[in-house]
Subunit: 502 residues, 2 copies
């Protein structure tokens, strides 16, 4: 049954839940054209220049007159002005009362009193420079076949290969971003504190930029140029890896409070349903997690840019608001240097899925953060100092946001999708949430959780959110593997490097 | 025996061929300090502000007075001004008489009358977007185990995975670079004209940006969102791959003229010997190849920047000179946007190896292009229209230059190194050339060719160059595998994307 979904009483458009042919009668409306699933229909006659309102906010201004029942698509809207960044109000979010979770513990790998716990027990091999990645790939393959079977408590071995480390302007102002991302990803709780760094010996990203002096030793760092040839370096690397595996193999899951859990939220391949099904249920699950003491990060600067004032209101203090403003201002300038702006974000798939522009995409994207106050704002790849809901200001690109959140310490990611992507991370399990029943039906061996029932009225946001919360804890506790983990569908790590290549 | 090497009679410095202790007597000189291998010693007393000259050019200006026999290191030099880009003379290189090669054919995989031939017979699976890379990695692994053994004439299957395709500003001016790189790499002669593109379905890099309409069909393109789930897409992908393997398996090596060969030259991890051993022998091999009708590309903009006037002189016409100037000017502006300049290029390893600054590195780098005239200049990832020596203006970063040259069509790369790197490419064999005997001794299962004998007087540049020419043809003809190919040490593809991430 085709339904019409209006999100906010102020909205003058609604979306159709199925492909709706011309002439379809929906409530008081007769459709004047065929309207594709998820696309917007005008609820009233609107004149050229009129505000088109969804989520209670202005998506844009009409470029032509439309009648009630008309399709409103991406070609018919002019983007509103960018919300200004000066004098944004803050600290309005504390009053929110969050829902209480039924469960406040999970089974994780403890990393000591101060640290977040792991949801997996992984041997991570960090590289200082791209030159060594061929050797490290062969090493990982040998560890998998020769060593891993002897250490049953270790889930996997992962290579932290990346495109940074040399051939880059290492002293450029923006080089701080990739450098801290690599420095911090080593500390991801899923790697259990075991440091194994493989370098070359002549690279720009020297080991002292990644490790404190007391950790730079033969146990943790191996430079290929110190070894007489390939056979010799592989032998030394295998010996080093085995020592680390022995240490990791002693780790066991224990029952831990949710305050030991740090997860990330991301969306990719969004459609118009993302903002009313997948993302709100993720937001509700996030509220349950935060209310239970966990840390939840959300990201994607270009997808919150048009709602920055809404996020500022939820920042708990001036410090968080100021950091939010400075990160967004940096990103505005970064896009301007490349002669684009936030309107460069939406994809053909987004538009096909009914998202007319970046404002509509942003409003749907922000709801994945739920209603909790924002306790801290991080630059790309920075580590948190507070627990609760955190905005980690990364690019929206899936494979750039993922590694950035991993560097910030997430041990699990929830990934909402409307169009569908087989995205996955080797470093942390990824739960894929679909926005539409059709999506889940089509990709039933790739989608782990379907929030589409919210659009068809089968389920409330709260019900779906509580189900998702349970699944997150199942996966975090190692009782369930998401499909991407099962099939080893892993995207490589693309650390954000806004500084020049040389 | 420690030797002193002066390159040009105008030079007022020379380098020592071994670590040389204070007090060592070399020709008329007594060393006033311990001087590390490859580092410069003053041949005469020089005052603060004096020009330090090597390769007959000014490396920089002294920041302090030095006596004859003193060590001159990177901390003692002020960089000279950047050579201007306006009114550069050109067309002075035609008069050069190149050496004649003893052999003018090789055994390659023919690709028709107009095209370069392959040196390998590979199935390449190109991706439109990073989201599909996890699936394609699993696919490649299944093809290797299930299909490849049935097609003995196919050497390997390679995934053209990359970080581009979505989450990027696809309409930014600089987006042309990654887009054409991906479009062109598909046409690499080592892939035998077989097109296999895997996309998602909602990405920004749509298939029509990569293929002409007549090639967009079910035989060549598969979009994952069109398939009901993972098992189904893998089945379809394996079927598609098998059809391509059947076609590729029919290819056999045939004797071809050198005009069908297109190779690339690159250096990485350079030292002060690179410019007097490895790179000049590569330059001589390049002259033999070009003289025999082959196409040779060299690259690395920041490493020719200080010698741009010398390259301009060798451009055969105004068109090549103008393209050289526009590519370099673009790169100057690109670096300036990131608040750096060409001095950001040298690495700690370069400096340890005796290269004081980018001028010295550039002079040693340029000699790998030999003496042939430059027939054409390409932007990063562009395909050539002429045969002969070509400057392909790519970044100097090894893993960015490699994919760019592959997109431009190289089927083999010669890689000179002083400090040592295990660099390799899955898409084309890479011959690694060491600049020092020590390097080759240390990494005898990674270095394919040693040019160090030039520094110790065991071999002339011409002798080493002729030997290298022979090895290039051996490898191109499939009679020999370089170590990186043997051990499958392959760097991933990092296409140059100077445009913003969104």
């Amino acid at each position: 049954m085709i339904r019409l979904i209006q999100i906010d009483p102020r909205d003058n458009v609604a979306i159709v839940t199925e492909n709706a042919p011309k002439g379809t009668k929906l409530e008081n409306l007769v459709l004047l054209q065929d309207i594709p699933q998820g696309h917007k229909v005008a609820l009233m006659k609107l004149q050229k220049g009129a505000k088109v309102i969804r989520y209670g906010v202005i998506l844009g201004f009409l470029l032509e007159d439309v009648e009630a029942g008309s399709w409103i698509n991406e070609k018919m809207l002019e983007l509103p002005e960018l919300p200004p960044l000066d004098s944004l109000s803050y600290a309005q979010g504390d009053k929110v009362v969050l829902p209480k979770p039924v469960m406040t513990t999970f089974e994780g790998f403890d990393n000591g009193p101060e640290a977040y716990a792991g949801t997996r027990n992984l041997l991570a091999i960090t590289t200082t420079v791209q030159c060594v990645s061929g050797v490290v790939d062969q090493l990982v393959s040998q560890i998998r076949s020769k060593l891993l079977p002897k250490y049953p408590n270790v889930d996997e071995v992962v290579a932290i290969n990346h495109a940074y480390g040399c051939g880059v302007a290492i002293n450029a102002p923006d080089a701080v971003i990739p450098i801290r991302s690599i420095r911090n990803i080593m500390r991801n709780p899923n790697f259990g504190g075991e440091i194994m760094v493989v370098g070359l010996g002549c690279e720009k990203l020297t080991v002292d930029m990644l490790l404190p002096p007391e950790e730079i030793n033969e146990e943790n760092v191996l430079m290929l140029q110190d070894y007489p040839g390939y056979a010799s370096m592989m032998e030394a690397l295998l010996t080093m890896a085995e020592t680390k595996l022995q240490a990791l193999n002693k780790r066991k899951r224990v029952t831990l409070p949710l305050s030991k859990l740090c997860i990330g939220m991301q969306c990719g391949g969004s459609d118009a349903f993302s903002g009313i099904t997948a993302n709100p249920s993720a937001g509700y699950a996030s509220d349950l997690l935060v209310s239970g003491g966990a840390t939840v990060m959300f990201s994607e600067v270009t997808e919150i840019r048009d709602g920055v004032h809404l996020l500022a209101l939820r920042c708990v203090d001036k410090e968080a608001r100021d950091k939010l403003v400075s990160e967004i201002a940096w990103y505005d300038a970064y896009l301007a240097k490349g002669e684009v702006d936030r309107s460069a974000n939406p994809t053909p798939g987004n538009k096909k899925g009914g998202l007319s522009n970046i404002v509509e995409k942003a409003m749907g994207s922000i709801v994945k953060s739920g209603r909790a106050p924002i306790v801290e704002v991080l630059g790309p790849g920075e580590r948190p100092t507070k627990k609760g809901l955190i905005f980690a200001a990364t690019p929206a690109s899936d494979i750039v946001c993922g590694p950035s959140q991993l560097a910030s310490g997430i041990t699990l990611q929830v990934f909402m999708t409307g169009r569908g992507t087989p995205y996955g991370l080797a470093e942390a399990p990824v739960i894929k949430v679909s926005s539409r029943n059709d999506m889940q039906k089509q990709w039933n061996d790739l989608i782990d959780f379907n929030a589409g029932g919210i659009a068809t009225g089968e389920e409330s946001v709260e019900e779906a959110g509580a189900r998702l919360f349970n699944l997150i804890l199942e996966v975090a506790s190692g009782r369930k593997k998401p499909y991407a983990e099962e099939f080893k569908l892993n995207n490589f790590l693309c650390f954000f490097n806004p500084a020049p290549i040389t």
